[in-house]
Structure formats: C-alpha cells, structure tokens
C-alpha cells in the first residue's frame, strides 16, 4: 500500500465508529490541553523570572565567610566572648590585601559594598519622588529600553520614572539631568547631587529602580557618610574578576572555599530562581502526564475494539496480499490520526484559553503584578508537545497493532 493510501484509509476508518472516535479524541484533547496549559503557565513563570532577574555581571562575585553566624528565625545561640575578636566571621582590611595578593591574575578589584541612602529624586520644575538605588557594574547585561549602563556621575532610571519626571519617553530621558537627594549619616539632612541619565530600564521587581556606578556610589558616600566607604569590618565583600571560563570559576571558588570564603555571582543566585521554576514546572507537567496517561488507555481501548470488530477485514487484507507491516501501519496510523486531530483541537483550545486566562488573572489574583503574564503559549511548546502526543499515540497503539498484524488470515476468515 502507498503511504498516502495508508493514511487516508486509517483516517477513514476512524469514522466507522464515530461515537468511540469522538470520545477517545476527547480524552486526547483533555490530556493535551492540560499539558499545553501546564507548559504555558511554566513559560509564564520562567518569562517573569527571566525578566526580573537580578541583572548582574558574571564577573562580580559576592564573598561571605563560611563561618559567619547568620541569624535564623526562632533560633538563639549563646554569645561567645571570642566572637568580637573573631576574624573568621567578617572581612577586614587584611582580608582585602590577602585576596589581592593571593589571586593577582584573577581578582581585578575588591570593593566594600556601597549602600546609598536616598531621600528623593527630582528634576528642575518637577516634584520630588522617593528613590532607592543600587550599584551597577560596567559589564552588567542590563535589559535597557534606551541608553546605556551609567558611568561616573551618571544614573540609570527605571521606566516608571519617565512620566513623573516629565520625560516624553525613554529616549527623551537619556542625557537629561536629574537631582538625587542622599541622606547624610544620621538621616537629619540631605545633600543634592546632579546626575545625567545614561539609560532607562524595564520596570523590575528584583532590581533597584535607580542604579549608579560603583564610583558614583563611593563618591556620594564619601560626602554623606565617609565612614561607610572604608569600614573597619564588613560581613561581605564584592570582587571584580578577570574574564574567567566556567572551569576557572569553579576552580577559583574551590580555592576560596578552602580559605573559608564563599563566593557567589548573580548567575548563581539566578540559577536558584530558575530551579524553583523548574520544580514548579515539573509538578504541573506531572499532573498533565497523568491525564495524558488516561488518554493513552482510551487509545489502547479504541484500537483493540477496532481490531476485534474488523478481524475479518484484517484477514481479508492479509489474504489479498497485505503484509504484517501493512496491518501494523494501518492501526498505528489510525491511532496517530486520533492523536493528530485531538492535538489540533487542543492547540486551538489552548490558544483560546490564553485570551481568557490572562485577562482574568490580571483582573483578580495578579492585579498587582502587571508584568506577570501567567499564560505564555509559545510555538516551541506547541511543537514540543506535538511530538509528545504523537509519541504517546504511537506507544498506545503499538501492542494492539502488533497483535493485529499477527492475526492468522485463516483464523480471521473462518466462518462462525
């Protein structure tokens, strides 16, 4: 038999028992739609996390001492007098020189973290708005709407500041001057600093709405809070490394670990976020897999019933020169056709669901998280799940089809 004959015959055979075919297809649809929904919601979470990642440089590492006591909620430990002299918990200037001297080729710079305590941001002729700022390093891959990463005396602002500060759009903001008010040490008065907007970022849940370079932060702190620039002790340090390969990073981290220091990059922290998304996704796919498994039994049943009903026909085809392979293909394609049509219907439903789920979620439980699109159906997901559904359809029909192909034509044609 020619391939197109096999496919059309298999497809036509589905219409012989319409009720059964419809019910089986329905089972496939339920399974596939669940799978598509699970995948789409997983995509939504992943996209949200990806858009709200701490954008950081892969060359910046945050160092902490392994033996540092971190307070755990509900857990009080005895204070030891030795703690105040204990250099194994905090970084001091000796640590900085140790690091610089031990890894001269790897560590380019060591920083004490600089926190800015901002009162407000404003622009000539506009109102003041509250502000908080973080430090951004030069090679950070920030997602910018416009402009670039700030240099000294420049500032990166989030898109939510565009309108309040009277800019027309992101492009308009770049190059304009804004005024930053930084609190002094005891938060009694503030000092003004004029900075040029270097660029505009997307609104993000996880990074600061304002970001300045390390140099700018240090400069501001030197004026408003000089003692914080070079502290006596710090619970963590930041280092800026040369461009390292993955294996070099691992090796470097191991060496630091032996010295009692833990190093983590933004990437490490992001990895954890993605791990959580992956777990979430796995759970949802697991649930979807169960409903697809139910559909599998539906297909097995349909193919088996079809074989039982058409025993004589199978015998006839074999008597007329049809091979085992042909019988196997006929029933397998029948199952693949159920999977195929079921999946087409499922994709249509899944697309329609997108138009329902997203508006509803934004009206209800996602009201406050505008940029979180819960349901993201991607073409890649559609293709991926297509192969899953077809593989399941094939798997479901494999043994029944094999059974059919082994029917003895004489037995099958024997009159009752």
């Amino acid at each position: 038999m020619k391939v197109n004959d096999i496919i059309t015959t298999a497809n036509n055979n589905l219409f012989r028992n319409k009720t059964r075919t419809i019910l089986t297809t329905l089972a496939v649809v339920i399974g596939s739609v669940t799978l598509l929904v699970a995948e789409s919601v997983g995509n939504g979470f992943e996209q949200y996390v990806a858009n709200n990642l701490e954008t950081g440089s892969s060359r910046i590492f945050r160092l902490t001492k392994k033996s540092a006591d971190t307070y755990k909620y509900g857990e009080i430990t005895k204070f030891k007098d030795s703690d105040k002299e204990d250099d194994t918990q905090v970084f001091r200037s000796s640590d900085v020189s140790y690091l610089k001297n031990t890894y001269p080729s790897i560590i380019k710079d060591v920083f004490y973290p600089q926190y800015l305590s901002l009162a407000s941001i404003s622009r000539n002729g506009y109102e003041k708005f509250t502000a908080s700022s973080g430090v951004i390093f030069p090679d950070t891959s920030a997602k910018l709407i416009s402009g670039q990463v700030p240099k000294f005396n420049q500032i990166l602002i989030s898109q939510e500041y565009i309108e309040p500060l009277g800019f027309i759009n992101a492009d308009d903001a770049v190059g304009k001057v804004v005024t930053l008010n930084a609190w002094d040490n005891n938060r009694k008065s503030s000092k003004e600093f004029s900075l040029i907007v270097s660029g505009v970022t997307h609104k993000s849940e996880s990074t600061y709405p304002l970001q300045v370079s390390y140099e700018t932060a240090t400069y501001i702190n030197q004026i408003v809070s000089p003692e914080s620039v070079n502290p006596q002790a710090s619970s963590y340090l930041q280092i800026y490394t040369s461009d390292l390969s993955k294996s070099e990073i691992t090796e470097f981290k191991e060496k630091l670990s032996h010295a009692g220091i833990e190093a983590s990059s933004y990437e490490d922290q992001n990895k954890q976020m993605f791990q959580i998304v992956d777990i979430l996704r796995a759970i949802m796919l697991g649930v979807a897999a169960i409903s697809l498994a139910v559909a599998t039994f539906g297909i097995v049943n349909t193919v088996l019933m079809g074989i039982l009903e058409r025993t004589k026909e199978i015998g006839l085809i074999k008597a007329l020169g049809g091979s085992k392979k042909l019988i196997f293909q006929l029933f397998t394609f029948e199952s693949l056709c159920i999977g195929f049509w079921g999946y087409i219907i499922s994709v249509i439903l899944a697309i329609i669901l997108g138009f329902i789920i997203n508006p509803i979620s934004h009206m209800t439980f996602l009201k406050d998280i505008e940029e979180f699109t819960l349901y993201v159906l991607t073409p890649l997901s559609i293709v991926k799940i297509f192969f899953v559904v077809m593989a399941v359809s094939f798997g479901a029909s494999f043994f029944p089809s094999l059974k059919a192909s082994k029917l003895d034509p004489i037995e099958a044609l024997r009159s009752e």
């Binding site: 004589k312 006839l316 008597a319 007329l320 020169g321 085992k324």
Partner: protein, 232 residues
C-alpha cells in the same frame, strides 16, 4: 530460484497437513495429497465439511503451509519463497471469492473492488477506479457502484466479490463455495460468470460440496478424511 518451464500452474507433491502434536491429539487434515493443475484448467475440490478440502484450498492459496510435501506454483516451490514474495503472489496472481463474501459493509461497491489494488499499491487512483469500473461492468453491477455493499442482495454481493477477485488480473481464482449462500437463480448467474472467466484462460479452483457444480469443471478432486479418493 528454480523457474522450470512447466505446463502446470499448480503442482502438489505428497502434501500433508497435521494439526496439533505435542500434548494435543494429532489430527491429519491432509494426508499425502498429490495432483497437478494445468494453466487455464477448471478444477473442483469436492468433499463433505471436515474432509480437508478447505485446508487444501488454504495451502494452494499459500495462506497455510503444508506440514510436509512440496507445492509448486508456476514451477516455483512455495516453501522457498520469502513472505514478501508470497504476499506479492497472493496479491497479484490470485483472486479470492468467498462464500461469506467478506465485503467491507460500510464501504461502497467501488471501494470494495479497488481494495486489492490499494493493498498491492499498484496504479494511480484514477487507473484503479477505471479498472474497477471495467470489472463491475463485466459482472453487470456497475449501476450499484456507489451503494454501500451492506445494502446489496446476496447475489449482488457475490458479483462484487468476483469483480474484486478479477481486478488485479489474476492467473488463478480460488472460489470457496461461491454459490453456497445464493439461491438457484443467483447461483446460476455466478456460475456462468466464473466459467466465463475460465474460458478466457483464468485457472479456476472451486471448492464445493455441490456435485452438480463440480461436474461442470474439467477436473474433479474428491477428498475424504484428508485423502484424495477420486480424481477425474
């Protein structure tokens, strides 16, 4: 592969077919059967039910294998042929007419007749249809070509069945009790068609218990308890 020039389209040598064995009781359905069929001959295999005549036909039609003995079709030994060659032989050189017709009830007459061509995968859709229509004309049932076969009478069904057997242009037609389910008028008509085909050179192997029908064949092989008791 031996390809002896031979006048015999079928040559059966000492064919036996044994069922059972091991723990079961051994049943000899065919016992040392030998005969020959010439090209274009009409042969009746006669016997009561359980005599082994159906088993013999199944073996001749290569649907079953003999337990011992040799079967030659066109001079070629069947046991030496691969499953693929056997399928090709059945599909392209044999035609089957069954007592129970075995038409697909929900398919149209035309679709039923096209089926063998579809299975062997020969010809385009258009040519298949043309061939089927020619055959339906021949058995005088063209007017029903778009009817579902379940809506036909027994005689009509058997004519469709013959058209289906003919469509692949076979050398041999195996007819298993072709008139068994028909009344005498329809039976006579089917008989006429079958012998008409035989006159055109198609070898006819007819399995029947109807002595009168058998007597119209050029050769009769009478089977009893798996043995040939009389061969004319």
């Amino acid at each position: 592969m031996s390809n002896n020039k031979t006048d015999f389209i079928i040559e059966a040598k000492n064919i036996s077919r044994v069922y059972g064995g091991k723990d079961e009781e051994v049943c000899k359905a065919l016992d040392n059967v030998s005969f020959t069929v010439k090209k274009g001959e009409s042969v009746a295999i006669i016997g009561k039910s359980g005599s082994g005549k159906s088993t013999l036909m199944h073996i001749l039609a290569c649907l079953d294998k003999p337990s011992s003995g040799q079967l030659f079709i066109n001079g070629q030994e069947v046991s030496q042929m691969s499953p693929k060659e056997l399928e090709k032989l059945r599909g392209e050189s044999f035609g089957f007419v069954f007592q129970q017709f075995f038409l697909n009830p929900n398919d149209t007459v035309l679709e039923n007749v096209i089926l063998p061509l579809k299975i062997t995968g020969q010809d385009s859709k258009k040519i298949r249809e043309e061939k089927a229509i020619t055959m339906l004309k021949e058995v005088d049932i063209l007017s029903k070509k778009n009817n579902k076969s379940k809506n036909l009478s027994g005689g009509q069904k058997q004519r469709v069945c013959i058209a289906r057997a003919l469509v692949g242009n076979p050398q041999i037609i195996f007819a298993d009790e072709p008139t068994g389910n028909l009344d005498s008028t329809n039976g006579a008509m089917v008989e006429k068609i079958l012998f008409g085909l035989n006159k055109r050179g198609i070898t006819l192997i007819l399995v029947t218990h109807d002595i009168e029908l058998a007597s119209k064949c050029q050769k009769q092989i009478m089977i009893k308890d798996g043995k040939i008791v009389k061969s004319l």
